[in-house]
Symmetry: D2
Subunit: 365 residues, 4 copies
């Protein structure tokens, strides 16, 4: 790996939202980055945030509250924001950041409705800033190695796929369980990994979805959103994909892709670390050795490189918008109890931009 | 394990159908049994079958052709038949064996239609002989250990389940690809393992099924039956199960059961040997050690014990009939593109009989 | 696999010693064999043995006591004996069986002293009968697959090896803890697997051994034999092998072979079932899929084939004698606290005979 | 994890030696630290090092050459050095840093001779600075979890242990293959992990070592040092440990500890990431889930905390000196072909200081 850029040449970021993901993952990720620099924190709690900021060499000048978001426009050392707030806030914060002339890296899911997602794409286009959705898995060598196995024929023609992402959400007061704030239940939060990653592995778009969900009566946690949801996607060439997501099980994250000559398994898939990629052929099962790098660093540095070189990110707003449309169709199918057809999209990687570094590296030790 | 019964006190079997399953698995399984004895072979090729018979100490007197099936009635040393022929022959052979006064152990799937399955149950009832469907997995310690984990609360409430069974069927002339002979494609052959074993693990019956299938146009192998099929089952208590089956992938067989406190995985499940059962909890993932026994021996000896003690087998004809009804609903759902409701069945193990030995053994080393 | 020989054409065996290995493993193994037939049991307890014999279709005529061993000479239907008694009895029983004109398959370790082992080889040579030591691992596809990986260069030049075999022997009265009966502690019983299998994998003989043992003071179990023993072997070409054995740990059985381009692991190795063979190269770790067959059946049928075709078994008495000599050197090294040199043996498989079936099969699914 | 200290309150480090370990591991580790700050780089190549320094926000003022080591005394913002140079330089650099009033964190092996190691301990004592040897494994949660399993009785009494560490050293010109620079071959470089970690797991000191080595004739790489080395250690209570190390195999790193009630395996052990800890009991084999943290960060921050709080590090110079003495005994044993007794050391963790954070955390997810 090449030497990092000197700090003053890197893209400076304001991180909007200082919850656990930010303190446990993103701030350390900035410390490891080569093209990105933490420049400011934006939160609702100035005092606590100033304390955190100090640990990373920031001063109270670098701490903002949400209502000061527009003041970022004055800071020439800040080129981009990274939005890490509840889903329903993404649209407004994106629009304000774009108006302030900052490029926007936004956590997934992009929004809570298709309409909001469309507005975000439009706002960034109008403002002339870049928009990227933080689909971390599309930036890691392990998921790219899986994609190569799928697309380069190592497994033969792909016929069926399977993915499950579940975890326990046991705080009945969590914003993730409020439909207005979250846009749904486990689907937009964790089921989205299955949807987005299977699309990424194939590079193709589903033609039809069919879904079954379960929302228990009288359970406090699931008054607004589903507990569990199973859905099937039909991809071009008759590839069938089964997905399951649930907020009422212990953590589980995996995907498998089955081809005519072999199959691959990631278990865990989607995790921040410890990804395991196995391939089975007639002769045996092989676990591929791959060095791990910090996934958030890879993702953030990709956006910075796109900014520095004026390229479209690999996962721009359009990529997030497509997921938003498919999720809407999944909920519609469950409600109307019938398969729902999707707009037909031809071609490979239709919604994606510049290949990230992980696409080019062999990725193996 | 106790000493075997002397051979003359065991139940004598005529095995009907002498294909690879019989020669590679069933004949060795009889050699290991404690309550069962190979007494005759019934096939379409007398000369070849006599050669095979000699290796197991049988004489030409012990070899019959299919049209001699009724002659078994004269053989007092033969108490039962084991039917291992193409699916569409099961009904007639069951009826003829029952009329000859022989108990019937029939390979899965029981039949190619619900009507045939009902007729088989009726024929055996009328003749006063026992009928058991050869659901091997319901007689193995590993699958029973999984059932205990599911039913005794080790995983917390079960919320979702997932199972895939696929294999490559590349002989376009195989009877398994002919609708009349097989009753369908991968579903009745291998997808049935997912269906039957998930029902067994829960002890409960599905209330609704929803299916999507793919049958490629113009591919010689799949002119009559589906290539791949994905289906979802809704069980009492809102448990959702996703299943996938395909005849166009390399061999894959697994199941996972997800509960509120942990999950279990069998990978491979359903296989003749080498079953692996893992349990994941917050602290880590444990692979359970279990000695392996010959699964076919366990299954056959269960039927013999039921005959010797006049008990209903754990998987009687009614168990097979229930699967036949669910498979019909799965195909109906795929065709009509809507969920299909099933008759509501209350209670545990409604279609099952006497517990097998594997139910009682701890099963662990 | 070809059809079994008709029973009357197979080699008939008298099994000498009816303990747990015989009832749990050998009698079922005979049931699965293709060239061998159980013909008689020899034990110290006629009544119990007659009960067991009945389960396998034998009569009281087929049961002998140890003092009737010479009467086997009258039984023309018995071609061989399989000796499964405490180690110190192997010599006398081999000599008596040989005098009765029977071929001898003897469990490992062959004997308790080098002198006894030499006498056994001599007795069989004089009587013109074959002698084979029951080194089960040398007859299983998995260990042969490992040998191919070692000898055919897949791992590059082999440089170091490692093997551990331990188990808990907690019955202070067991004959395995009496020096006169067993010939030592864990070394001749389970450490012998490490010694014998590493020699088999390389096909070469060690040139020097160096050992350290531990025998606790005042522990009832270990008054006569060692608790644990570590030894190093130096093979031709400077290959170093580290081995460990203990009677005071939970069951552990593995071996690893390290080469310049990769390594292999069997864990468990040596077990009756569930062997796992993995290969690691820079790209990843592969577990090889291999069907399992009954290992005892493979071993017994090899001896029968050698008898029927008048060939030298792959593991004749000379193979066991060589291990006996090396074990004597290991104990000498531990006692004298210095490395002990062994007689230099050039060539591959110097003490071995006809290749078994597992040598020829690819062994993979 | 608590918030990092503001940078100006942390301990500033000068890293001495800017090879691959420094650029690939240590510089990123400083970026993740909470109590430590990268303050200077010391190397033999000023131009290249200034380029690297810029990526981490350092200026040319912060870059020194080896002959400027004494100038560090003037830098009040530098509290410590981290020595990452060839082994034979450790003594002099430690002495010079100590004279400059800087605390010393020194890579393992501490030195190339016992004499040098003693001198280093003495130099730091005289100068009143702390000395810590960078035994990374003693600061990681996974190795601590293994230690708890060993010391808290989960495995029953420990009886035998096994560890192998090998890798390919194929550059015949590498300083690691020069006796004067390295102090030996694979033993002080990678075999030291086995030695040091087994001592750490038990908390006890070996009483006797016995070794066998192989140094091929006429191979350019191994003219000065051994290719492979096997050694046995006898610990208090009769625990036997077998170790193997080699410079002529593909990378392999594992350890196993066998007790009367179960065993544990780390495979890989010693690695920078991807450590796997498994425990086997009669019921099954469990892989423990543990979050990974950057191991170098944990190690460096421990030293900083000891400096800030004036405590003795967990692995002070005395810990390294003890390994140096044992390695000398191992080489002596191999040369004299006899076991070599070591000074008897009673008590637990006799050479160790303040417990690191990893000792206190449960370490599990």
């Amino acid at each position: 790996m090449s030497t990092p850029l000197p700090p003053q040449e890197r893209v400076g970021y304001a991180v909007i939202g200082v919850g656990e993901l930010t303190t446990a993952e993103l701030l350390p990720a900035f410390a490891l980055s080569r093209f990105s620099r933490l420049a400011a924190l934006v939160s609702g709690d100035r005092a606590e945030t100033e304390r955190i900021a100090a640990g990373y060499g920031l001063t109270s000048q670098d701490v903002f509250t949400y209502d000061q978001l527009d003041e970022l426009a004055q800071r020439q050392d800040i080129g981009a924001v990274y939005i890490v707030t509840p889903n329903s806030l993404h649209r407004e914060q994106t629009e304000r950041a774009a108006q302030a002339g900052k490029h926007v890296l936004c956590e997934k899911p992009m929004a809570t409705t298709v309409e909001d997602a469309e507005a975000m794409v439009q706002a960034c286009r109008v403002a002339g800033v870049k928009l990227m959705i933080a689909y971390r898995c599309q930036y890691t060598p392990q998921h790219w190695q899986a994609r190569r196995l799928v697309q380069e024929g190592d497994l033969g023609d792909i016929r069926v796929m399977d993915s499950v992402h579940g975890q326990m959400e046991d705080d009945a007061g969590a914003w993730r369980l409020k439909r207005d704030l979250a846009g749904g239940g486990p689907l937009p939060d964790i089921g989205l990994y299955c949807l987005n990653t299977l699309r990424f592995l194939l590079g193709r778009e589903p033609q039809e979805v069919s879904a079954t969900l379960y929302q228990p009566q009288g359970e406090e946690r699931f008054q607004e959103v589903e507990e569990s949801l199973a859905w099937t996607m039909r991809f071009p060439g008759g590839i069938l994909a089964s997905c399951l997501t649930s907020y009422n099980v212990q953590t589980i994250r995996y995907l498998r892709v089955f081809g005519k000559e072999g199959w691959l398994s990631m278990d865990p898939a989607y995790a921040y670390q410890g990804l395991r990629l196995e391939v089975e052929r007639a002769s045996g099962r092989e676990e591929l050795n791959m060095d791990e790098e910090d996934q958030f660093t890879l993702e953030i540095d990709h956006f910075s490189q796109c900014i520095l070189q004026n390229k479209t990110p690999f996962t721009p707003g359009e990529e997030g918008l497509q997921d938003q449309r498919i999720m809407a169709a999944i909920y519609q199918s469950a409600q109307e109890q019938r398969p729902v057809a999707l707009e037909q999209i031809d071609g490979l990687d239709v919604f994606r931009g510049e290949l990230p570094d992980s696409a080019r590296s062999g990725g193996e030790q």
